[in-house]
């Protein structure tokens, strides 16, 4: 009984997804458009309540599942992101005639997978969670079946996603072969007891790093990202860019820090170099983009680099883990928000938004432009926003771990990134609209949720302490 109680939040989200699918056909088209988002948000909120009132911390299902502070933090983050993604979508889905039932159900199924990663204490649970998270995302990318860009996004995401899963699985198989265990604690204790890394262990470590690198869009395993993000319907992109990324980092923390922590001397320098390459490449290519959606796609690659820098600094202890969690929360909020702001201008016949389309945006849509400006300032890392605090907390453990050069790279990249983020703000506020301006719609639900999210970005940037303490508590279980 207690075993089942340990996964109540996941069960609730699964039931919500099934309800949405049934409701979609049972309610009829008119009532479904209003009811489905309401059902989804209510169900996800119920799941958040369930995460705080559950079983005592510990292992369940014969050690396949662990409920600890780390699990709680990620469950809450995934559910909040799913709620945010649901709230910004309805008006766009109706405008573009995207099937709403499938859309919300897919988001819920993917969230269940992400939550499963958070509660995994075993390679098997982790792999099942990872696939349960990504397979719905392939569907989400291609949900606009008649659109060839959406098809292409789904196909590229799927082929590289499946390939990376296979690499990861082969790495897991070798890890099992070497350590004779699949649960993280046993793998870690085997590695501690048997000292130095042998050849097969290094092979397994390399395969696991590459596989997880693909999932998190680490350069040079990022080629699918810009196309998948650009081609997918914009609200789907907004969710794809944050949910799976946070889940991939949950997996990286569980596997690299949790299970392979004893090999940190071997992987931390590789991860540090990958982090530096990722953030630099992401920012440099983002500079050259004329399409805002594609620019934000490259910017999300750059942010992967910042988060990975904190992973590389894991020997600094709890503060590094807390920095990863805090950054993921901040990134989820501001990046989902920034993509969602494109929903104002992403009308029929346009794809994303060229920079020119945003000229004079502030005059046409003052509130939307203000929210977009707040998210962009936060992505740049300027106070008083959560993005600044997140970068600040990443640099500290990086210095503590003796990676001063990486801290310098982070600082230089922040300056580089400021150019292309603030260029959009300048265009929105200081340029006149030119040419034929597409008629803007002003959806109420989208504006309200963006308003709340941008307020949260500023408020959490001024008083980040409670969130930071939560992240620190959640990072405790990673340190042994």
């Amino acid at each position: 009984m207690t075993d089942v109680a340990a996964v109540y939040p996941e069960i609730i989200v699964t039931i919500v997804a099934c309800l949405v699918l049934v409701g979609d056909t049972a309610l009829g088209r008119r009532r479904a458009t209003a009811a489905l988002p309401a059902i989804t948000v209510a169900g996800l909120a119920l799941a958040i309540v369930a995460t705080v009132t559950v079983v005592p911390l510990g292992h369940y299902f014969r050690g396949f599942v662990v409920v600890d502070a780390f699990t709680g933090f990620f469950r809450a983050v995934f559910l909040l992101l799913a709620i945010f993604a649901t709230l910004v979508s309805p008006e766009y889905l109706e405008r573009r005639r995207i099937p709403a039932g499938e859309y919300y159900a897919t988001i819920c199924f993917s969230t269940v997978g992400a939550m499963t990663i958070a509660l995994s204490s075993d390679l098997i649970t982790l792999f099942v969670g990872l696939e349960l998270m990504t397979i719905p995302i392939y569907v989400l990318a291609g949900i606009q079946r008649g659109d060839r860009y959406s098809n292409e996004a789904a196909l590229k995401y799927f082929l590289l996603g499946a390939f990376s899963s296979a690499l990861l699985l082969y790495g897991f198989a070798w890890l099992y072969g070497v350590t004779r265990a699949t649960d993280f604690a046993a793998i870690a204790s085997y590695l501690v007891a048997n000292g130095v890394a042998s050849g097969p262990t290094i092979v397994a470590l390399a395969l696991v790093t590459v596989g997880l690198g693909f999932k998190a869009a680490v350069v040079p395993f990022h080629q699918w990202t810009p196309d998948a993000y650009e081609g997918a319907p914009t609200p789907a992109t907004a969710f794809m860019s944050v949910g799976p990324k946070a889940a991939a980092f949950a997996a990286i923390l569980r596997v690299l820090v949790g299970a392979l922590g004893p090999l940190a001397v071997d992987w931390s320098i590789v991860i540090a170099v990958l982090a530096a390459v990722t953030m630099t490449a992401g920012n440099v290519v983002a500079l050259a983009q004329g399409n805002t959606k594609r620019m934000l796609a490259y910017s999300s690659i750059a942010h992967t680099g910042y988060i990975l820098a904190a992973v590389a600094a894991s020997r600094a202890g709890v503060s590094a883990g807390a920095a990863v969690l805090f950054y993921l929360f901040a990134y989820g909020l501001m990046n989902l928000g920034a993509f969602a702001c494109l929903l104002y201008v992403d009308l029929d016949g346009t794809r994303g938004a060229s920079l020119d389309e945003l000229n004079g945006f502030a005059r046409r849509e003052p509130l939307g432009a203000l929210a977009f400006a707040v998210f962009l300032v936060s992505l740049t890392g300027i106070p008083p926003t959560i993005g600044f605090i997140a970068k600040f907390y990443v640099i500290q453990p990086v210095l503590d771990a003796g990676l001063a050069w990486l801290a310098v790279v982070i600082a230089l990249n922040a300056v580089l990134a400021a150019f292309y983020y603030l260029r959009v703000v300048v265009r929105m506020y200081m340029y006149d609209p030119e040419g034929a301006v597409p008629r803007l719609v002003s959806p109420r639900l989208l504006s309200t949720s963006l308003g709340v999210a941008s307020a949260a970005v500023v408020i959490l940037g001024i008083v980040p302490n409670s969130l930071l303490e939560w992240a620190q508590r959640a990072a405790q279980p990673l340190v042994r």
Partner: protein
């Protein structure tokens, strides 16, 4: 007569490299999908071989394989659906021709 572990691992590694090479070289989306399946089965073979070596005390490797079957089936179902919907809009399964976006 029992087959040594090394033989299984050699077959598994061969399968894995054939699969990887196929994914990197072939341009037909369906063939790439088949190569990914080959890679998953290489991992399955390795898991079963390790599990058998460790004997009855540790059957987690075999359990893993059962989960991988299910995941691979789900992946193929979604993958073929994606290829099919792309084919309906533009009759090709060549990944080099499906590149409307730069990059």
């Amino acid at each position: 007569m029992s087959v040594p572990l090394g033989a299984f691992i050699a077959v598994s590694a061969t399968l894995f490299f054939i699969g990887t090479a196929g994914v990197l070289v072939r341009r037909n989306a369906v063939v790439i999908l088949m190569c990914v399946e080959l890679m998953l089965n290489a991992a399955n073979l390795a898991l079963v071989a390790f599990s058998r070596r460790y004997g009855a005390v540790d059957e987690r490797g075999s359990v893993f394989v059962v989960f991988v079957f299910v995941i691979a089936a789900a992946e193929v179902a979604v993958g073929l659906a994606i290829v099919l919907s792309a084919y309906r809009n533009r009759p090709t399964v060549d990944v080099d021709e499906i590149r409307a976006m730069k990059g």
